[in-house]
């Protein structure tokens, strides 16, 4: 930096802060004024702004849950059972006991079934216990959460079988697809913020699962790749559905026929293709941070304080 830079800087500061024109700026005024038209920035679409904010917070929630401790190996499955939430333990124990009695076995058998694979004799016990647990839940959010855990389990099964070189049977694939669909059905019943959070979670999980599948396929050689393709297609479909729902939650509700809550904001009467630029349907603009204060963040060339009160 030299003295002329410093002099020019002082002149510019005076101009920007107070509109004072120093001799250093003579010859620059016309060009500076020619930039003034760039002050103006179109307002943000409030609906879109709100949706982006929801997506961001949902992504934050998904990443937060993704960094929580996860099961790394099937060998420590017994430990993971005892790490489950205490509030569920009693219910699980009851379900397992009931399942064991129904199947003529023991509670120990039912616990052992938790680690079984689709090609093993105890696998039907495992799936029955899952179904019973889902039956006991009457809340779409809790059911969605549980289904996501079961989907992780399906993937762990697929991963183990693929690594063992075993074919991925129809049982596990059908169950994967069914539970994915059920997860979407439950998500469709949630309010927008929770639905978006759920979809962000599905998208993130799908991304992780596709990476796992790609790794398995690349290390599979002549293994059961066609079986993995089926699982891959199911995950890709769920990723696409989740992304569609993140863009517009109504697409998921329409697909699964979920009703909106009575206190939910009104929907626009018309949804033209590529539209949605007409402002919020409810007109509320409820704290999405997009006050669209318009142009001139820097009060360019205008006397008065330069800063617009934003946090430094």
């Amino acid at each position: 930096m030299n003295d002329s830079d410093e002099r020019m800087n002082r002149a510019l500061e005076r101009f920007l802060e107070n509109g004072v024109l120093s001799k250093e700026l003579e010859g620059h005024i016309a060009s500076l004024h020619a930039l003034k038209s760039l002050e103006q920035v179109p307002d943000r679409d409030l609906r879109r702004a709100r949706r982006i904010r929801h997506k961001y917070l949902a992504e934050a929630a998904a990443l937060n849950s993704a960094v929580s401790p996860r099961r790394n190996s099937r060998l420590n499955g017994w430990m993971s059972i005892f790490r489950k939430e205490r509030s569920f333990m009693f219910a699980i124990a009851r379900i397992i006991t009931i399942a064991a009695i129904l199947l003529g076995g023991t509670a120990g058998t039912a616990f052992a079934a938790q680690e079984s694979l689709p090609d093993q004799a105890l696998y039907p016990v495992k799936t029955l216990i899952e179904d019973l647990r889902l039956e006991l839940i009457n809340d779409p959010q809790a059911e969605f959460d549980l289904l996501m855990k079961f989907l992780e389990e399906r993937f762990a099964e697929i991963q183990t079988m693929a690594q063992n070189g075993d074919p991925i049977g129809e049982v596990v694939q059908n169950r994967l697809q069914k539970q994915l669909q059920s997860a979407f059905q439950n998500a469709a019943e949630l309010d927008d913020p929770e639905l978006l959070q759920a979809m962000e979670r599905v998208r993130e999980q799908s991304r992780i699962q596709l990476n796992i599948l790609n790794e398995l396929k690349s290390g599979n050689g002549d293994g059961p790749q066609s079986n993995l393709e089926v699982a891959e297609q199911a995950v890709i479909r769920s990723q696409i559905q989740a992304e569609g729902a993140l863009d517009d939650p109504t697409t998921l509700r329409n697909r699964y026929g979920a009703e909106r809550n009575e206190d939910a904001p009104d929907q626009p009467e018309v949804n033209p293709p590529g539209g949605g630029q007409g402002g919020p349907a409810d007109g509320s603009g409820d704290g999405d941070g997009s006050d669209s204060s318009g142009f001139g963040d820097g009060n360019f060339g205008t006397p008065g304080p330069r800063r617009n009160g934003q946090t430094k």
């Binding site: 002329s4 620059h28 016309a30 930039l35």
Partner: protein, 187 residues
């Protein structure tokens, strides 16, 4: 006493939803406006702003992200994303100006045409600057940053920012004079 930004950052590293929401609410609008000024398109500006916050989350997840100067970090991310996009689309900068969706105070088509012409002229002048000069001018003139903030955002010294600013002003004057000359010849 820690600044508000540092309080937010500490909480954001724990993925505290309130802190993350506060960060978004504080900076999303100005980052959108910055992105629009760089790229000239409403939808792409929203996407860039959204991606900026997504990058912040992913950086925090990995234990990275800014230790201080959060605002500067966000501006830098937006700027880098915008430049990547512009390079990808093989544009030096905006060659066609998108007509604003909402014209504040514009009441008739003539005014709208005039504004469009002025915007095109201004963008053309900015195109004559180097990437660094353009960044300094936009941050200082339109985003309301002082030299220290511009320096933190561009990762340069305050002295270097003043130098870039001076050279940018000279380039803008030359670009304006060239445009005037072209207009006179056309007339």
């Amino acid at each position: 006493m820690p600044s508000q930004e540092n309080v937010w950052l500490d909480a954001a590293r724990r993925f505290d939803q309130q802190a993350l929401a506060a960060i978004y609410d504080a900076y999303s609008d100005e980052l959108y406006r910055y992105a629009f000024r760089l790229i000239g398109d409403v939808a792409r500006a929203e996407d860039l702003m959204s991606e900026t916050f997504s990058r912040l989350l992913r950086a925090l997840e990995r234990g990275g992200g800014p230790k201080t100067h959060l605002r500067a970090y966000l501006y830098r991310t937006t700027h880098n994303l915008a430049m990547d996009q512009l390079r990808q689309s093989k544009k030096e900068l905006i060659e066609e100006t998108v007509e604003p969706q909402v014209d504040h105070g514009i009441r008739n088509p003539e005014q709208s045409v005039e504004l469009k012409f002025e915007r095109e002229q201004a963008m053309s002048m900015l195109n004559d600057l180097t990437e660094e000069q353009r960044q300094v001018i936009i941050l200082k003139f339109f985003q309301g940053m002082d030299n220290e903030e511009v320096a933190a955002t561009t990762e340069k010294t305050v002295g270097a920012v003043k130098g870039l600013q001076h050279r940018a002003l000279n380039s803008l004057r030359r670009a304006f004079e060239a445009l005037q000359s072209e207009t006179e010849q056309a007339a």
